[in-house]
Amino acid sequence: MATETHTEETFSPAERTEALEDILTERGLVDPKVLAGLIRNFEENVGPMNGAKVVAHAWVDPEYRARLLADGRAAAEELGFKGAQGEAIIALENTDTVHNVVVCTLCSCYPWPLLGLPPSWYKDPAYRARAVREPRRVLAEFGLELGEGVEVKVWDSTAEVRYLVLPQRPAGTESLSEEELAALVTRDAMVGIATVPAPGS
């Protein structure tokens, strides 16, 4: 059990992480340059800008939208997005009458190739506990009030399937380019705690 490692004095995770890296580097088990490369990749290349491109493409291309809803992984790969935590991807379509929201109650499973690493609120115990019990109240706390007629679907990612919410395209965006549309799409809308705001709102 991990509790065996408790000491009388507790050290900060930062200090303990530095000590661990020190030991592993000294023994030739990790290469600080490799660690830096991994970190940079997740800071610069893997993030919600990828999912936003998928969503915007689905908004402008009905055939792509159909392929995305049929096989999310294949559709993501079409745009070059694949990797760890993306073995099986399902896109969940929000409509006027259905609102989807994604959670992982057991840990923080998240579609890395499309959204990167999860934000703090997604990993926070309150969200994980409450999203599967009182989702409307939770969404209202995030500022999203859903009408009575909207059916709420909550998806708990317990296995290796990852979910991407396909938000509704906001009104008044007919003249925008695909790139401009992608810039409107937020991470939070692709998890389902927000909608995509109309431009300028």
Binding site: M1, A2, T3, E4, T5, H6, F11, P13, A14, E15, R16, T17, E18, A19, L20, D22, I23, L24, L29, V30, V34, L35, L38, I39, F42, E43, G47, E87, A88, T105, L106, C107, L117, P119, S120, W121, D124, P125, A126, R128, A129, R130, V132, R133, E134, P135, R136, R137, E141, F142, E151, V152, V154, W155, D156, T158, A159, E160, V161, I193
Partner: protein, 221 residues
């Protein structure tokens, strides 16, 4: 394990944390470092797998799990996997912290390696299964009354509940046995829909809960 990680439905945890504007991927340098170390701990450093990795995170001491930053769980996971596979001696990290602080502390020597004698049969977690799926979309199912101190992905809040199979997902390695290096036991996986009132009683908010469950978690109704 019925641990603190199994949070679905727990009450009294307060308001949700609101999204942080322009949140960085890592809030502090150590978070990035332990993420990267943890990522290679999973296989290359320890011979463990994704499910063993999750089980190690689950065993974070509960007071730390709830109170410390998220990436502290990755630090605990790395320490657990590294010590269990004989890569790192118990207490080695704290001893090194003291040494770095200038204390004259003896550090434990590197232990005998104890890596699991276990190999994945393929990349990732998806596998093919020869037997046909036991359930089909529309099948009524009940979750089993599961009690294990080991790893499982059947959360407490959906045990002994009746639901309806939605779609049949790709077959996957069973975490319950894979986490303990027993066997991959690939199974069919189903997206099962539960009515909120089945989970939380007649006064529950109306909504549908969809959750991915392995075939051995389910019985026909």
């Amino acid at each position: 394990m019925d641990g603190v990680h199994d949070l679905g439905g727990m009450e009294n945890l307060g308001a949700v944390e609101l999204p942080e504007r322009d949140e960085p991927v890592f809030h502090e340098p150590w978070e990035g470092r332990i993420f990267a170390i943890g990522a290679i701990c999973q296989t290359r450093l320890t011979g463990a797998n994704l499910d063993a990795f999750r089980f190690a995170i689950d065993r974070t001491p509960p007071e730390e799990y709830l109170a410390l930053p998220y990436f502290n769980r990755w630090l605990r996971m790395a320490e657990t996997l590294l010590t269990e596979t004989g890569t790192l001696a118990p207490g080695a990290i704290d001893a090194r912290v003291r040494r770095r602080r200038g204390e004259a502390v003896e550090e434990p020597p590197a232990p005998e390696p104890n890596r699991p004698d276990y190999k994945a049969t393929g990349p990732g977690s998806l596998r093919s299964v020869d037997d046909p799926p036991r359930f089909a979309p529309g099948s009524r199912v009940r979750t089993v009354d599961l009690h294990t101190s080991g790893h499982t992905r059947l959360p407490r809040y959906v045990r002994r509940r009746e639901g309806t199979v939605g779609r049949v997902q790709p077959a996957q390695v069973l975490p319950d046995t894979n986490a303990h290096f027993i066997a991959e036991n690939p199974q069919h996986v189903y997206s099962v829909r539960f009515d909120s009132t089945e989970l939380w009683g007649p006064e529950a908010e109306p909504f549908s809960l969809y959750i991915d469950l392995y075939e051995s978690y389910l019985e026909a109704v």
